[in-house]
Amino acid sequence: MLPHSRSTAMRLCLLTILAILSFTTATTASSAAAVDPTSVREDFINTNLHRILDLTNPSIMREHSTVVIKAVNDAGAKEYYLTVPAEISEKSLAVLEVEVRQSKNGEGVKAVVMKDKYDASRSAQLYKVKLPNHLKKDEVVYLIINAAYTNAVKPFPKEVTMKSMQHLEYQGNAYLWSPYRSERQKTTVRVPRDEVLRFTSQPEPVTKNGNVVTYGPYDNVEPYASGFLHVHYADPKAILVVKSLERKMEISHLGGNLAVQEDYELHHEGAKLKGHFSRVDYSFSQWNHHQTNVVKDLTITLPPDAKHVFYRDTIGNVSTSNLRHERQRSVLNIRPRYPVYGGWKYTWHHGYNVPTTSFLKRNTEHPSQFAFRIPFIGGLPNVTITKAVVSIVFPEGAKNFKIRKPFDMDRVSESTTYTYLDTTGRPTITFEKHNVVDEHSQPLLITYELPATSLLQKPFAVSLAFFALFALGAVYSRLDLSITKDPKAEQEQLLQTYRSTVDKLARAETRLVNNLASVFRSLKSEKRLAEYKDATADIEVKIKAGWAKLVDAAKQAENAVLTTIHPASSSPTTTTKATTTTLNGSLSPAATFAAQIRQLQRLQEQRLAKMRAMHEHIVRATTAKSDAKLDPAARKELESVVANLDREIEQLAEQIRVAGQKLVD
């Protein structure tokens, strides 16, 4: 206890010196400018005032004040002023809201609070509260002032061991720092536990009851009165400060999906770890961890229908997380890679997908108008966020944005984001705000227009790209970039066009032959072989026409090659020589091709002839059978002839197949 009180005493000394110094500067300043009209105000008095300093949350200090104000001027007044020390206003004040009530428990009206002048003499920042009604003389209203401060409490001692309790201290003013005179006021300090090491007992009366320390009530407090208030109390909770939060949301109309990702950089600013971390001590003191300021896990609230939840950090996925769905919300419980002790930090990002149904509404009158409503922050409560950057990515083609902010932002900017298959990019609105606390999880409302046609932009762009690709391919395959023409390749290319026709003809022929065979078979089974000739005449004509076409094709191919290679030469005899035999004496491709076609045609002719012959034999045999008995020797001979023919036809068919393939390759 001794060193503590000594240091407090020293601090008191310092504070007095500072106070004196500031007082002297103030007096010199005021002597220069006779009376500062903003300093002390007399249009109101605070008739009754109760202030509660809520220290139960180590990261955020909340101040709830109920002030009964009375207008004292004859003219009455409409503007009430609040003062906050400049330093606190700049660095620590996160929220300042005022509600005006006509009676203590009556309906409240939110009043507009504006930052006003800066009082240099007292280094005080003034805030102007616009009351909803002009107050006449002696009229009374209730003001409910809610404020939240960050960095308000500090750990003392600054370092604790792994197993010991953390203590925090708060320093402030026992009075409300007001430019008005107060008739009666009281300040209540609420700390998380009964265990309060020390609290200033001046100005009297000061009482402690459980976890509540009460200063006052005081009567007739002068404007800008100050009384040093200091509370030193036990609190095992960590002071968590998110130095940077980046929250990115992406709306997809096609998928009806909202993708959210949040990047955190979390610092533990509670009492630092004294000595070093020891795993043995850590595991053997498991049952005492709630007594120390170690952070083992964090609970993050997500929308109830969140899915595809992930939790990663810079070096990969962290497997120690747990997600459970409840009716009103989903709870993501994450465990950092290591227990976070005082002075340590941890960074991570998590994200999820959620259907847009609960965030995005379509205007029923104007179907292309949409309203998007989402909390500014949310998820991890009870932390201070030093800097929050929230960006919302809208679908491609969205325009005419109207933004309704629940509070002032430090910066709002627009940009364009490009992601998968974007062409014109997605409009993005980025909000930036410093010093953010739980109270800021109020909804942002953004309305925008998205014409139905822009939904087609993406498929259109993709098909256009593919079309371009194919078109390019088509053009490229027709380009000839060779320096010298290769006559062989040239011919080959030309012949390629004939190959397909030849292939078709060859296939048609085979089909017709098969057809012929099947007609024969069916006639045979029906014992109508006499009609065979008539039935197949038609097919035969077709086959022969095919042969003629084949021969034609062969000739055409030859001629075409001749005319393209030597279009100028008039005498056909010389050109034939030149192309059919090249320098080496081997046949030119065109000549080979023609020869192959002719060969194929010959084979086909052979096959048909053989087939015919076979059929004839069988027809003769069957007709003979019906007339008279065939003697066994002749029958056997006939059978062998037929079998031979059949085998030959098979072989020919195989050869034709091969020849046809050779032509195509």
């Binding site: 070096i315 992601t419 060969q599 084979l603 050779k662």
Partner: protein
């Protein structure tokens, strides 16, 4: 099938099958992603990943000029000049193109999926190469083999972002282009070979294999009397463009003209010029004159060249072979001269089992394929033979080089199976003598097995029963076993991939009692702790294995890392780990060490920990500091390596031992402290650390981090300072305790 002509139909079929194989090759490598996450694996990939990020963020020129002060403290590392930039540039380019097309894929994903992607390309390259050797059906088979062969998968699973990941594709494709060039005598293909060779040089040190194999091929062809203008054109084009472009890589620089590894290529280039010259003269001279000139010229040139080479080597213009190459000839070399190379497990000679583990069926088919190559022995088959011979030798010497053997094994096995199947399936019977029409050649029937088989069936209805190779039972006797073996092979490959090669090694998995997976993430826990909670400039000492991971994941300076170029520096760290605290403290102070990181598996049974690697630290340390470190002293009288009661005093006093077992017995609450890796009981006597403080130990004790204490204010040794303080404090405590106890007694008396 599609109403197309047979040729385009088979082309479509081929494309479809090949793309399916490529997809299979890609997806079979994704086990670790499905099981764990998309994360960079192991050790070296972390360095590649870090440099890729540097490249992507700061551009190519900054990357080439990058001086990395995080590694090799206090020396640092000129990354641009000491790295093969191929893989980083490849990944960076892919990333850039995707981003340019508005696909904002994170560079990590590009890196993780790079190796599987290139494996798919490798399958295509193997298809092309084998098609040149045999035919397209063999090509498809080879593509399928290389797509799933574990020997290749071992280095190309998703997350294994290492040079080999793209190098094997480049190797196979370069060889394909080379074969094409030789076949056609085309300068275009020669130039393409050179360009892919350049890519390969930029990607992997194994490019030396190409540098020597292609000249060897040329040389063999010349010896076989197969010199031709085609050979001259292709090799000359390849060599000139390839060599000049390879010298653009800063790490390679003038090596192609100055080191012995590259001399063979240069020599063959010269030889080709001479031969071409001789050929030219021969066409202008009579045979007699030519004879005289020939001997004079050839021997003169040869002697001149040899003398020049020797003179340059002696004069120091050409560097002699490096130690790594000697270790390729003599497997015992490294153990004696360069323990650091021998300490890497992948540099050990390959055990026989691992051939079968990695290649299974292919290993059996490999010789058959080689035999069939001998049968045909065209120019490209000579290449296969040479490749197979050299790669088999190297794969036997070093486990790691199994990788270069795998492609050729796949090619040879595919040739073997295809030849076998063709012999049995496409021959339709004894050659028909009766038909006079020009008989179709065998060649045209290849690759149309199915159709041929159909026609065979048809034929059998009419023809008399055939025997021998042509009978259906013989065909069945071949097809059924081959089908079974191939299916078995596929199962084996999947099993090996899933069980042996798909662990990221920075994340470990175990099974809980209920069978669910439990992830052990101690490495990242410790690395992330270092990243977040230590000073940015902190220097971390650990064994070199973890260097890349610490710089990659913790973003902190390390003393040594996996780029083991400086043996002395590593030995210094080895010395610091193996000496007593006071000696180590001096070393650590000199090296500005702030934190020491050790891996300790005793608590959970992780066998790859530092105590098991300790012998190598001692050996490497002894190699440079024989006065301070003696390996013998770490063994007991009976020559055993012990960590329990019987451990030698040197062992017990070594920094590594102390840091590993510091407060370990306390875990067991007074019972026998059981080290589950070594099955030893650690003495319960508390270990006192005087020069370092424990600052962090991970959940399962795998990583332990210690902070080096500040030196004593009045210049005592740390041990003296600590005992001085302790004694005094103890006395004080005793006294107060005594007082308190007497006070208590008094109170009780009251």
């Amino acid at each position: 099938m599609l109403g197309l002509s047979p040729s385009s139909e088979s082309a479509w079929l081929r494309v479809t099958v090949l793309s399916l194989i490529a997809i299979l090759a890609f997806s079979t490598r994704l086990f670790s992603i499905l099981r764990f996450e998309s994360v960079i694996h192991e050790f070296d990939p972390w360095f590649n990943y870090r440099t890729t990020i540097e490249l992507v963020e700061n551009g190519y020129y900054n990357f080439v000029n990058w001086f990395d002060e995080l590694s090799w403290y206090p020396l640092g590392r000129v990354v641009g000049g000491t790295v093969y930039p191929g893989i980083m540039v490849t990944a960076g380019l892919i990333h850039k193109v995707l981003n340019w097309l508005n696909f904002p894929i994170h560079i990590r994903e590009v890196c993780v999926f790079l190796a599987p992607l290139f494996s798919a390309f490798t399958a295509v390259a193997a298809y092309l190469l084998t098609s040149e050797m045999k035919n397209t059906s063999a090509g498809l088979l080879a593509a399928a083999f290389i797509g799933i062969a574990p020997g290749y998968i071992s280095r190309s699973v998703a997350g294994s972002y290492d040079n080999e990941g793209i190098a094997i594709f480049l190797l196979v494709y370069t060889f394909y282009l080379w074969i094409k060039a030789v076949k056609m005598g085309s300068a275009f293909y020669g130039a393409m070979t050179a360009i892919f060779y350049f890519w390969m040089v930029s990607a992997w040190g194994g490019y030396v294999f190409i540098t020597n194999l292609i000249p060897l091929h040329v040389f063999a062809l010349i010896l076989m009397g197969r010199y031709s203008p085609r050979l001259y054109v292709s090799y000359s084009t390849f060599y000139i463009i390839g060599t000049i472009s390879s010298m653009l890589i800063p790490f390679v620089g003038f090596q192609p003209t100055r080191t012995s590894e590259h001399m063979a290529a240069l020599g063959i280039f010269g030889l080709l010029q001479i031969i071409a010259f001789v050929e030219l003269i021969r066409s202008h001279l009579s045979a007699n004159q030519f004879q005289i000139l020939f001997y004079g010229l050839i021997s003169g040139f040869f002697l001149l060249g040899l003398a020049g080479l020797v003179a340059l080597t002696v004069g120091g213009y050409i560097a002699p072979w490096t130690g790594r190459f000697y270790s390729l000839w003599d497997t015992g070399y490294a153990k004696i001269h360069i323990p650091i190379i021998a300490s890497v497990s992948e540099h050990q000679p390959t055990p026989w089992t691992s051939f079968f583990f990695d290649l299974q069926l292919l290993m059996v088919l490999f010789p058959a394929g080689i035999y069939f190559c001998f049968q045909e022995l065209r120019d490209e088959h000579v290449f296969v033979l040479l490749y197979a011979g050299t790669a088999s030798y190297f794969a036997g010497v070093m486990v790691r080089l199994m990788l270069t053997l795998t492609p050729i094994v796949c090619v040879a096995a595919a040739i073997a199976i295809t030849t076998g199947l063709e012999t049995f399936l496409t021959s339709t019977g004894p050659p028909p003598a009766a038909v006079a029409v020009s008989s179709p050649t065998l060649d045209e029937k290849k690759g149309k097995d199915a159709k041929a088989a159909k026609s065979v069936e048809k034929k059998q209805k009419n023809a008399p029963r055939v025997k021998g190779v042509w009978s259906w039972d013989a065909k069945l006797a071949l097809i059924v076993p081959i089908t079974i073996m191939l299916a078995q092979f596929a199962f084996h490959c999947t099993w090996v991939t899933s069980n042996a090669y798909s662990s990221p090694s920075i994340v470990l998995a175990s099974r809980k009692a209920d069978g669910s997976q439990h992830i052990i993430d101690d490495f990242r826990e410790a690395y992330y702790w270092l990243r977040q909670n230590t000073h940015e400039k902190a220097k971390i000492m650990s064994w070199w294995d973890y260097g890349y991971q610490i710089t990659g994941m913790s973003n902190r300076t390390v003393l040594v890392d996996n780029n083991t170029w400086n043996n002395t520096h590593i030995a210094t760290v080895g010395k610091a780990m193996s000496c007593s605290e006071d000696v180590s403290y001096e070393v650590m102070r000199k090296l500005d060490v702030d934190y020491v990181l050790v891996i300790f598996g005793g608590a959970i049974g992780y066998s790859g920990d530092d105590i098991n690697k300790f012998l190598w630290m001692i050996r490497i340390g002894e190699g440079v500091y024989p006065k301070d470190v003696t390996e013998r002293k770490f063994f007991t009288e009976r020559g055993e390596y012990k960590v329990d009661e019987q451990a030698t005093p040197t062992m017990k006093n070594s920094l590594m031992y102390k840091m590993s077992y510091y407060r370990f017995p306390e875990l067991f609450g007074g019972g026998p402290a059981h080290d589950s890796v070594r099955g030893a009981t650690i003495p319960n006597k508390p270990i006192k650390l005087t020069t370092v403080d424990e600052v962090y130990t991970t959940e399962n004790w795998i990583v332990r981090i210690y902070q080096v204490k500040k030196p004593d204010n009045i210049g005592r040794t740390m041990s003296a300072a600590s005992t001085f303080g302790k004694k005094r404090r103890r006395r004080v405590r005793k006294r107060t305790a005594a007082r308190r106890s007497t006070a208590g007694r008094r109170r009780r008396q009251d």
